[in-house]
Amino acid sequence: MPVITLTINDELVSARSGQSILEACRDHDIQLPTLCYLDGLSARGGCRLCLVDVAGSPRLLPACTTEALENMVVTTHNEKIDRYRRMILELTFAERNHTCAVCVSNENCELQSLAAELGMDHVRYDYLNPELNLDTSHERYGVDHNRCLLCLRCVRVCDEVEGAHTWDVMGRGVESRVITDLNRPWGDSESCTDCGKCVEVCPTGALFDKGSSVAEMKKEASFLRRILDGREKRQWQR
């Protein structure tokens, strides 16, 4: 595969042609915050945390959906970008009801650890406090919309990897919700195969194993890379 070189944070790095800026960064251990991106799923560009500065582009570009090109000059961190990332996280926290103290994913939540990592310690915006429900109709799993970030990892993993397309999104704007089938209780879903992939990839406590109590829900999304390599390249590895 042809190799290209580009500059990331003043350092010359190489990348495979066709890779995204994010993939190039990860290959070289350059840290970039992400929420909607997950290795193994299609990139979506929705959470806007991976925005980077690309010389010559008038706008910040999402690293996850922007292809790395020869001679590109990329800056992943500066005062403005870091400030914007914190503000975006604040907006994310303000949108739903993230009461960490009572959450099953407390201490094991990607949102929580990103906030700590980026130094986001207060929210200056009004909490929108939507009234959202908790669906525990499924035999093994539950969904708590109060913790959902609308990253749509669940939707993508269910469609792209499991092939069931049980999940999708209804409504639009701030009224959007993830749904199963015709917005019926998850437990009544005809298409759900009970595989639990969505639960594993969900970055917060929105999808959880039933029976876990506060701070008990630990997730592991790396299984995805493994089964995908196995499936696509017939390369099982551990």
Partner: protein, 567 residues
Amino acid sequence: MNPTSLAEQAAQELQRQEQLKLRLFLCYSTPCVAAGAEPVKTALEELLAKQDLAADLEIVATGCMGPCSRGPLLRIKNADGEEQTFEKVTPEQAKEILLHSIANQPVETTALPADLPFFVRQTRIVLSNSGEIDPEKIEHGIARGSYSALAHVLHEMSAEEVCAEIKQSGLRGRGGGGYPTGLKWNLVRKSPAERKYVVANGDEGDPGAYMDRTIMESDPHRVLEGMAIAGYAVGAEQGYIYVRGEYPLAAARLVKAIKAAERRGLLGSRVLGSNFNFRIDLRIGAGAFVCGEETALMTSIMGRRGQPVPRPPYPAQSGLWGYPTLINNVESYANIAPIMQQGADWFAGFGTEKSKGTKVFALCGEVVNSGLIEVPMGISLRDIVFEIGGGLPDGGKFKAAQTGGPSGGCIPAEHLDTPVDYESLKELGSIMGSGGLIVMNESSCMPDVAKFFMGFCMEESCGKCVPCRVGTVEMYELLTRITDGSAMLNDLETLEQLCRLVQETSLCGLGMTAPNPVLNTLHYYRDEYLAHIQENNCPAGVCQLDQIPLLKLPEHAAELAVFKEEH
């Protein structure tokens, strides 16, 4: 049909029209119909039937004539080509006008003066047929030259030449962005692919604008012809028109026009006897502003949730079903045939150095003559509002002209002499937009207007990216606080910072431009915001201001004390 038979039919139809004693043009566009054009038509038809006049007379139900607020409009044209236009016509008046005109007697109802600035200050290129033809009769269009540009292009020009001509004309996209049309066509033409598409954007989501609706309703063939020329120029055989769901009449007329054109070989396979095939299909929107954004529009054409996708890749590289796609606004397409007919240099003679040609505006709000106008680029706002629009009614004082809808801004009185072109409006912190122009008087409160637009963006945000999905709601909350009296000075700072964030980090144009009305009014009317916050006063008298800031509530007194100690 081939070019010769097309010309023959045009001549034939012209001859028929010239032999008529009298032609009555009745505006049958939605505003005039709503104002009562239907009974007028019935009355005229009954009279014709009764008096056995049908042979030398013709009633033409036309598209929009322009001064919509004066409808129903009736124009009569006698065999000598003399014309008179009547406003607010009742069925009785219509009958009187008809009878007197036949008898060659002076008509009692007073006609609109022929030199009304509303008419003489306009330059009609896009709308040249609008109000002159029955949009449902293809012969009317053909008599006025419809499809002759296509015939010329197909038989005399190469695709490359067409693109060069459009580039030479300086035409820029009329959908708001102002991207040079010729460049875009060339990009698509050069994209190698086995299949390409041409799309006309007729979604017109800007609230307070109806240019595209009028073009599609009044002269649908103009749009189809422009698309076919585009198809030939970029190498596409399939076109789609995406019509806003709120415009059923436009959709119906387009369907009819497509059928009529296909029947005559003006669309379909082997167009006008050439080797070029071009089909056009209609797609009806289902009510989502964001679907006007080009990538969202394409996902919607493919039957999905109309959410934008990150660009690049641009539609010119990968659009509908992954194939190169040319997407232009309806008005942009409507400019194509005149350019090809009269030449790029003729077109470039209108307008300013960087903005060529004309622009159609929907002039609305607090103006005497509200309606649809077409003016050369570079005309001043003052001329539009006070000459063509006739100023504000009831002695109102001009406060602002809003252009660009929810992506634009308000232009204050001190900038009324700014020429209307892409760059000048942008410099003022607004945009040309698709052509909505709303005049406001002193009774409009600017923070309230900003809140109105933010509410719109909030409802229309597709929800894909966080800054727009949540940011618009938070900006709306902050503006609500300002307009209900509960804001404090630091809220203004929070609001401005949030505006910058949403502008710079949103995925698509909706989010990127949603803060514009706020930033722009903050720039020109900051005093008004401050009056709300510091003096609890709405200068325009619109806002209730019946809330007080949280920290001023008595139950927060204790907290306030602690707060003070800490600092």
